[in-house]
Amino acid sequence: MSELLNVPTMADFMAQGKQPEVLFWVGCAGSFDDRAKKITKAFVKLLNKAQVEFAVLGTEESCTGDPAKRAGNEFLFQMQAVTNIEVMNAYEIKKIVTACPHCFNTLKNEYPQLGGNYEVMHHTEFLKSLLDEGRLTIEGGKFKGKRITFHDPCYLGRANNIYEAPRDLIIKLEAELVEMKNCKKTGLCCGAGGAQMFKDAEKGDKEVNIERTEQALDIKPEIIAAGCPFCNTMMTDGIKAKEKEGQITVMDIAELIANAQDL
């Protein structure tokens, strides 16, 4: 399947003297994490299907600096930011889409003050716009009637007030959207944000992802939909810890849509 993927880089476009419609910011997880790479590919398939002229930075992309900033290392964050902005401004990037809410938040909110002004979209918003414009069509397909709950990523939801785009997409799949006790504004964190992904948790009586997984189990979904590679990892781990891998799968919204059409 992978040979079908068409993934041009900005350098390719530059060589042809062309400008893509949008830059796909893959992010570190999307580039290196085995689980997240599947999300990246699913999203690329959808971009290819909708014939979106996109490009990636490839080896010119570097961490946005989000985990460094949230860990308190403002120097490292700004070094990363300034380097990335230099690259993107040289390519005259106008619009960015990313499947990682952390990259999304940082690029959208924290780069402008450092000279990086772009229109930034989360992939769920972007997919929604493709549907609205009729460039992509989806039908229920294999997820029709399935019980799906959406776990709000903190950096998409509370951080940027985006709650509806991912839900609209689930509804488009003709699935049964069910909500956890904590959702939208009061969504419970998966436990990975603020650089927690990269360290052990402090002493407590439970892991945050277990708490969140229990909330999901309470409403008996068949699928937990995620919109963030880190949430995806945390929820997948939670499901494994609860030995529910047989019954419940954790999937990114992009994977749901791509799989619905057997892409």
Binding site: S2, L5, V26, C28, S31, F32, D33, K37, T40, K41, V56, G58, T59, E61, C63, G65, P67, A68, K69, R70, A71, G72, N73, E74, F75, L76, Q78, M79, Q80, V82, N105, N109, E110, Q113, L114, C154, R158, A159, N160, T186, L188, C189, G191, G193, G194, A195, M197, F198, K199, A201, E202, K203, G204, D205, K206, E207, V208, I210, E211, R212
Partner: protein, 433 residues
């Protein structure tokens, strides 16, 4: 004519308001110990937020029971204070119910006050039950012992007593009961005093009147020493709260300058004569003076309701972090610094303590997932997360004291452009896997 009551009243008023003013000045001075921060943007949105969130209590009702009860107490508090105006005029010029000359409207007004007073009394009883009998989890966290616990109950007792005095004062006011207009509630209390002589009734009425107004003045002065300051500070606090998306953390300008210098070989610190902004004494915050004044205002505004803590994923899973404690610690340390300044003729003398470690531990700071649940939950727009971040910045940039795993993560970003030890040149390998 005997002017003694008028003089005593004037003295009580001057002392009460005067002492409060003195403490408000101290409060403002303490808040100004914080760094400056630009809050001049989008004034119209700020007014709107204040109107909706503080005046309109819009975030209180996200928890319907507490929200509804709180609105009763809040409305009661605001409206019944109109009555205080009459009390002050009566007290100063020696009149009795000076507004009663306005006729029917007076009855309507006092009647409304009486009904509100009863509702407030009931609401406060329910609050007390929630806190002390039902023992709602958020009121019994580890930071809610001793003073914070007592403070909350004292406020409730104060309100119960004030409302009772108001109703007793009306019930024993023969003149007012004879008017039989607006005594909606007090007419049912009046029979308890049946059989008492007119003199005895008058004495009770006067006593209740005096205790009511003195009680209000004492309560006013209690505010500064209590979490109850929120009744005033909620307004400026919601006005000055950040208007940016919650995910947007501020970029430190001092760092931007250093980074630009490092990236651009043509700028050297020594040859840059336009360099008028000094490097800050330190990056991040280890004490209250390193925070900005809005963060310090936040600390004084916190009324310790614990909605933040009850939504915090770290706290929910048994970690030490409690966003409410971050705010309480910040306020307590700021008070300590303020007292230090008072004791040392206006200058702060190092007391060997600081907000970090002496109040807020590193374990608490590193437990935060930066999820913004606490910020979202706060009914008066307090931001505990911004303080946590500033303190992490101090730990990392001034002390290199991040947990080992985070240091590894940051080294990876520095060397490979990713938080994991993968080569940047392999960044697009996924395409062909």
């Amino acid at each position: 004519m005997n002017y003694l009551p008028n003089v005593l009243f004037a003295i009580a008023l001057i002392v009460g308001v005067g002492y409060f003013t003195r403490n408000v000045k101290k409060l403002i001075r303490n808040i100004k110990l914080g760094h400056d921060v630009d809050v001049s943007d989008n004034t119209s949105q700020r007014w709107k937020n204040m109107t909706m969130i503080a005046l309109g209590q819009s975030k209180m009702v996200s928890r319907p029971i507490a929200g509804f009860l709180h609105i009763i107490v809040y409305v009661g508090f605001v409206i019944i204070n109109i009555e205080v105006l009459e009390i002050i005029i009566d007290g100063l010029i020696g009149s009795h119910r000076i507004f009663s000359s306005i006729g029917v409207l007076y009855g309507v007004l006092i009647g409304a006050f009486e009904i509100l007073a009863l509702l407030v009394f009931i609401a406060v009883i329910v609050f007390w039950i929630r806190r002390n009998i039902i023992k709602l989890n958020r009121f019994w966290k580890s930071e809610m012992t001793s003073w914070p616990k007592n403070d909350a109950n004292y406020i409730l007792y104060f309100e119960m007593v004030l409302m009772t005095l108001f109703l007793v004062m009306n019930a024993t006011d023969v003149h007012f009961q004879t008017m039989n207009s607006g005594n909606f509630i007090s007419q049912f209390i009046a029979p308890f005093f049946n059989g008492l002589s007119e003199t005895a009734l008058h004495t009770i009425e006067r006593t209740a009147w005096w205790m009511h107004i003195i009680g209000i003045l004492v309560f006013l002065n209690y505010l500064y020493f209590s979490k109850h300051l929120h009744i005033l500070l909620a307004f400026p606090n919601t006005f000055y709260a950040s208007l940016k998306p919650k995910g947007q953390f501020n970029n430190l300008e001092a760092v931007t300058k250093e980074v630009k210098m490092m990236m651009d070989a043509t700028i050297y610190p020594a040859t840059s004569p336009t360099d008028d902004t000094e490097m800050p004494a330190k990056f991040g915050a280890s004490d209250v003076q390193d925070l900005n004044w809005v963060q310090l205002l936040n600390a004084y505004t916190c009324t310790e309701c614990g909605r933040c803590t009850s939504e915090c994923p770290a706290n929910l899973t048994g970690k030490k972090l409690s966003p409410r404690k971050i705010m309480m610690d910040t306020r307590d340390r700021l008070e300590e610094v303020g007292k230090n300044i008072d004791a040392n003729k206006g200058t702060f003398v190092d007391d060997g303590k600081q907000l970090l470690d002496n109040y807020i531990t590193r374990e608490e700071l590193w437990a935060c997932t930066s999820c913004n649940a606490c910020v979202e939950a706060c009914p008066v727009s307090i931001n505990p997360l911004s303080i946590i971040l500033d303190m992490r910045r101090f730990l990392v940039m001034e002390q290199s004291a991040a947990p080992v795993e985070l240091n590894n993560m940051m080294t990876n970003i520095e060397n490979n452009g990713a938080p994991w030890p993968y080569n940047q040149m392999d960044r697009i390998n996924w395409k062909n896997e």
